[in-house]
């Protein structure tokens, strides 16, 4: 979503000066991470295109064309966001010897998710508690919950990945230990321990599923 359409929506809601629009944008759409300069450039562009105009006390108001433009965007179908995550790729391509570092990376991402939830909580505490039985309060809660749903889903996924990686690391250690023991007593050929994890990446987790949660 562009800052331009967000600013236009806010101006339609209530004619406002630029500084108030930046504050509103931070409060209402914190997850989009717009910066203040986005608002000023969006206003300049909207004014150039005849979608907003200056009015009293350095405020901006929407033109009829601006309202039409916004409604056209509001009622159009929304596209699904693309899923391009570097961590997905790392997990897909990691090898057994990378497991300890991958577990650290995944856990770091878990903490990041928790931090974002906490930041959202704090920013929400700074404003007056929305009353979800009123339309304006319900909208705020729904927008907040949309962001929370994202972090909740990601955190749940990361936790599942970490637990799988931890169990794979245990299995890998078991296999390595068994192999070393077999070599030591000279029975490697008979023991056929194989290389259960080599080159198999995350998919190998399936064959170790029955060993999940087992203690080392």
């Amino acid at each position: 979503m562009s800052a331009k359409i967000a600013v236009l929506g806010l101006v339609i809601e209530e004619p406002s000066p630029a500084h108030r629009l930046t504050a509103k944008l931070r409060q209402r759409l914190s997850s989009a991470e717009f910066v203040d300069s986005n608002v000023y450039s969006a206003l300049a562009r909207l004014e150039r295109e005849g979608l907003v105009r200056s009015c009293a006390e350095a405020s901006y108001e929407a033109t009829d064309e601006g309202v039409r433009h916004f409604e056209q965007w509001l009622f159009a179908s929304s596209s699904a966001p693309p899923l391009r995550d570097e961590l997905h790729m790392k997990i897909a391509l990691c090898q057994p010897q990378n497991l300890p570092r991958m577990i650290e990376l995944v856990y770091g991402q878990e903490l990041f998710c928790l931090s974002r939830v906490q930041e959202l909580k704090k920013s929400f505490e700074r404003i007056r508690s929305p009353d979800p039985s009123r339309w304006s309060g319900l909208v705020m809660v729904m927008i907040r919950d949309a962001e929370l749903a994202f972090w909740e889903a990601r955190l749940g996924w990361l936790q599942g990945v970490r637990e799988s990686l931890e169990n794979m690391a245990v299995s890998h250690q078991d296999a390595s230990r068994a192999e070393r023991a077999a070599k030591l007593d000279g029975s490697l050929r008979d023991a056929s321990p194989g290389e259960p994890l080599a080159g198999t990446g995350l998919g190998a987790g399936v064959q170790y599923a029955s060993r999940r949660h087992r203690e080392a």
Binding site: I103, L114, L120, K121, P132, V141, A149, L155, R162, E215
Partner: protein, 252 residues
């Protein structure tokens, strides 16, 4: 001031089939008076076990649980029973098995200690506090999930506890009911100075908490800003200094 509830290095495991499952690993957590701490986690990760251990309804395999500085493991059964009737509220949305009126159900924890008249007076107050006075004459089976949550909280707070342990109070609630329940829990901390440790399966339910944590794979994770601080220097370690929420966390 010291932490009201303190879990230090708590571990717990169960046998699940042939395997031993560690549901809690080295969990460290403090909850102070006037604080609402929410632990988020998926179903089956050990959230209820954590609460049961905090109330000594289950014993940990490792670690220490202290309530008001006293090691819960050392309490005699009678002392523990009195603690659970007077100072610790245990809230879960299970409800009475018999067809009690909700007023009777909420009065139950106080009947033995306070007598019928006072227990019912306290029960009416608790129902009013949670906004459920009109449900006093109803039965559990006729209540909605939201009403059951609030009645369960009334059943917990009727004993005017110092610590309230609340298991999944927002499960199956809609947005409005969830906000109502979490706002009530927050006000119990802010207005009445109760310490609350709650578990929640949905992230929006942590929004009213003072502190949040997540539980997965037996480990309690805290946002980095609330992660354990390095050991205090002798100058810093002044008597009375309290770190309200700590978590010991190590990546594997």
């Amino acid at each position: 001031m010291s932490a009201l509830l303190s879990l230090e290095g708590v571990g717990k495991s169960y046998l699940r089939g042939p395997h031993r499952v560690r549901v809690l690993k080295d969990v460290t957590l403090d909850v102070g008076a006037g604080q609402l701490v929410a632990v988020w986690g998926k179903r089956g990760v050990g959230k209820t076990t954590l609460l049961k251990i905090a109330a000594r309804l289950e014993r940990p395999d490792q670690g220490v649980v202290r309530f008001e500085g006293v090691d819960m493991a050392g309490l005699r059964e009678a002392e523990h029973t009195r603690l659970m009737l007077e100072r610790i509220g245990w809230v879960r949305r299970a409800g009475p098995k018999s067809e009690l009126r909700m007023l009777d159900y909420v009065a139950l924890p106080r009947l033995a200690a306070r007598g019928r008249r006072e227990a019912y007076s306290l029960a009416r107050e608790a129902l009013e506090r949670v906004g459920m006075s009109e449900c006093a004459g109803q039965h559990w089976s006729s209540l909605s999930d939201g009403e059951r949550s609030l009645i369960s909280i009334a059943h917990g707070i009727v004993r005017a506890p110092k610590l309230l342990l609340v298991d999944d109070p927002t499960a199956n609630l809609d947005v409005i009911e969830r906000e109502q329940v979490t706002q009530l829990l927050r006000s119990l901390a802010d207005d009445e100075g109760m310490a609350l440790l709650i578990t929640v399966p949905d992230m929006p339910a942590v929004m009213r908490a003072h502190h949040i944590a997540s539980l997965s794979g037996g480990r309690l994770a805290l946002p980095p800003s609330e992660a354990p601080e390095p050991p205090l220097s002798p100058e810093e370690a002044q008597p009375g200094k309290v770190i309200q929420l700590r978590g010991r966390e190590q990546s594997a």
